[in-house]
Symmetry: C2
Subunit: 456 residues, 2 copies
């Protein structure tokens, strides 16, 4: 329950259509793509940086949690109001402040959708590389808070590499301005990157200076079918050893392919047990040599066939077919997005197979193999207590394997609430303690997204 005085002050400052307190209205802000539910006590929709400063100052005075929120597409529970408080929905800060093609920069408010940025950049021959699968729906504020990536990160990097500067409001309601407007700049500490991926625990982003990238002139696809997993992982390593990085290198394992076959029986050859979808792009109209080299890199023992798919729709057909199926099984899966060094993928995927066999679990693995970023899905019946317990033990071993291989527990989804129990597997206590102290510095009363990102 919010303090009455705080409610009164907020009611004075915000019209009722920008300050929800009715539980029915608030309920839409109780969940995200983690499928957990924690209703906020209120929802606020700021329109300006000044309003965000005012809200946070007030909440800081009353020690009330503020849970900043983009469009709620995160899978790690980062926007869940676990301890109640106010959901700070940035969805109405929708202005693109400037489009500056000469300097390859767009300045935008956090509620602007990723897709809107792409639409603003495209007429000038540019795009903004972060491409989470939610790009048409998710906002740049959320993308920045999680350092979102996607299939094209293998060539273009993640959000971290594509933001020049930020305006943000700390847990004391103070406005800070980080970074610069130019591609080079070394004045002061890099607070921009410190905020990127901090999941709203340090400050609320109210403006972002985005660095644009030129759209490639030519894009083509390659699909490669393999009779066995090991040949496929070898091909991944081969492709990543080529000088020119592919612009996407997506992997589907046998479990994923079987899931697709269940719905679309004729889409995939029966003998395909692992598959790659590769995109190659370039500034030259002639990328023949890149295509030839990539096709060649796919020629491992178990290759059934690899072919160019100029129609990128055809390229992504299998991956797109998988999406709704994954949504259908959504409540029945544990979804992780671990990363391992590319050359350990064969060992990692083999390890996954043994672990799922050992724990008698079904799993479906796919993802951004070019970054070694694999989405591991354990398919479980959430009502089967014994199976859930087995899945948890399996997950624990999967994470240990990831760390053993010098990988990381999350490549793009973040920690949020879902993965915080495992953070200490990756980050030592001294470093973690320093991070906690940084959190305290930005947010002394722990009101910004409390409980997230750190182990309990």
């Amino acid at each position: 329950m919010l303090p009455v005085n705080l409610i009164t002050e907020l009611q004075q400052a915000f019209p009722s259509d920008r300050f929800y307190t009715d539980p029915v209205d608030c309920y839409s802000y109780a969940y995200d793509n983690s499928r957990k539910i924690f209703p906020p006590d209120a929802v606020l929709f700021p329109l300006t940086t000044q309003e965000v400063c005012h809200i946070i100052s007030l909440c800081n005075r009353y020690h009330v949690p503020i849970i900043p929120r983009g469009r709620g597409t995160g899978t790690a529970g980062g926007s869940l109001p676990e301890f109640g408080g106010i959901a700070l929905s940035m969805e109405r800060m929708l202005n693109i402040i400037s489009v500056d093609p000469a300097n390859r920069v767009i300045v935008a408010e956090p509620g602007v959708l990723n897709q809107t940025v792409q639409d603003a950049a495209k007429p000038h021959g540019f795009f903004w590389p972060p491409d989470p699968s939610s790009a048409h729906f998710s906002s740049i504020g959320g993308n920045i808070a999680t350092s979102a990536g996607g299939p094209h990160a293998v060539k273009y990097g993640t959000t971290r590499e594509h933001v020049l500067g930020l305006k943000a409001v700390t847990g004391t309601g103070d406005l800070i301005t980080t970074g610069c407007y130019t591609t080079k700049g070394v004045v002061g500490y890099d607070l921009t990157r410190l905020l990127i991926g901090s999941e709203g625990t340090l400050a609320v982003i109210t403006e972002a200076t985005l660095k644009l990238t030129a759209l490639p002139v030519t894009v083509t696809g390659i699909t490669a079918h393999f009779s066995d997993l090991s040949s496929c992982t070898k091909a991944i390593v081969n492709v990543m050893a080529l000088p020119q990085l592919p612009s996407a290198l997506e992997f589907l394992d046998a479990g994923s392919l079987n899931l697709i076959r269940g719905r679309y029986p004729d889409m995939l050859p029966l003998n395909t047990h692992a598959m790659l979808m590769i995109e190659v792009d370039g500034f030259s109209e002639d990328i023949t040599s890149s295509i030839a080299a990539t096709l060649d890199a796919c020629h491992t023992d178990g290759l059934i066939h690899a072919q160019q798919a100029n129609d990128t729709t055809a390229l992504w057909q299998a991956r797109k077919a998988l999406s709704p199926l994954l949504k259908e099984i959504a409540p029945k899966k544990i979804n992780e997005d671990v990363v391992v060094p590319v050359d350990t993928l064969p060992q990692f995927l083999k390890g996954l197979t043994s672990l799922s066999a050992h724990y008698n679990l079904h799993n479906v693995n796919f993802g951004h193999a070019g970054n070694g970023n694999i989405h591991v899905n354990l398919l479980i019946n959430p009502d089967d207590v014994e199976e859930v317990a087995r899945a948890e033990r399996c997950l624990d071993e999967i994470f240990d394997l990831v760390i053993k291989l010098r990988g990381t527990l999350s490549g793009e989804h973040g920690i949020g609430s879902e993965k915080r129990a495992f953070v200490s597997k990756e980050i030592d206590s001294v470093t973690l303690n320093l991070m906690r102290n940084i959190k305290k510095l930005f947010d002394p009363n722990d009101i910004l997204n409390p409980g997230k990102l750190f182990p309990p």
Copy 2:
């Protein structure tokens, strides 16, 4: 003067060839490329991370300044022991811990030279993009501490984009491990980037995981001569508007060209008043279309001629000729490395011309125009008090112009001691205060490179 007990403890822990206290020995660690002189009270040469922890713990106990130092090539005075204390020379931590071409990673100690990393990467078809002009001599520790850039940053970015993780020791002697070994990773706060460019004020880097980039297959050069500055700056804007970024886009103004003519009368056509040296690279052997587009972009009114220089030695001839001349006039120049948005370069360079005329100063401007990163050199007689005063007033106005154009005070040299008086022009007091508090968190007794980076 160092506390006697500290000296005793250090003498017990380090042999005399790794602990200098004789002022004559220490003097070599009193200066860097800023041409200021501040002798340390002692110099230590750690060989391991553990030793660095031990040294910093001790100094923290005695509140003695530690000035971490790579190879002393910085121009901003970042490695000067202004308040005495111990120069911590990392130059003997020289191990390349691993070269991992399959994952495009080299792990190295901070004393390893940039050139040594290039030599280790090259046989595998890779390079490490940061390329300060000191690359053959400077160390990766120093490169990371300053987020070094160079001519190729226009396409490949600066150090910030090419480090995956770090080991570092804070001002309390605690070892922290930041980042990860993979190209994606979002677990915890991005302390890697926080340390990059922090000029040894937060922690001493003892190990770095460097991300490698594939060497281009084809590299070619273009030189373009212009009859006037304005046509040249227009060409810069045109080149930067092309989809494919040049791999270098270096600019020399009339002052620079005249300096070269004074020594090499026949090197440059007399009617050239501004010049561009452009490098174009690619993975295809055929980069004809990029070259044609770049040549075309140079076609402004005042273009005298633009031509391809396949021999990159020829390309850099004028720039290389400038270097020793700049060294000769070194004590008589104030060298800045400001950055402005690329499309404001015409306005900025025009502004520079008026300012130097107004203050009756000679200046020489050149640099990494593709990033808008211009090295502004005011040529002054350091013994002429009145001229020095004029130069200081001029510099102040130059910085104001930079900020007005949304630029930044330093693109690659950093703040160190040289530019700290101006930091408040760029960073507001709230943000600066937060940075000061971060410094306090990492280094509560202000022993790590005290006085640097922040305004006095």
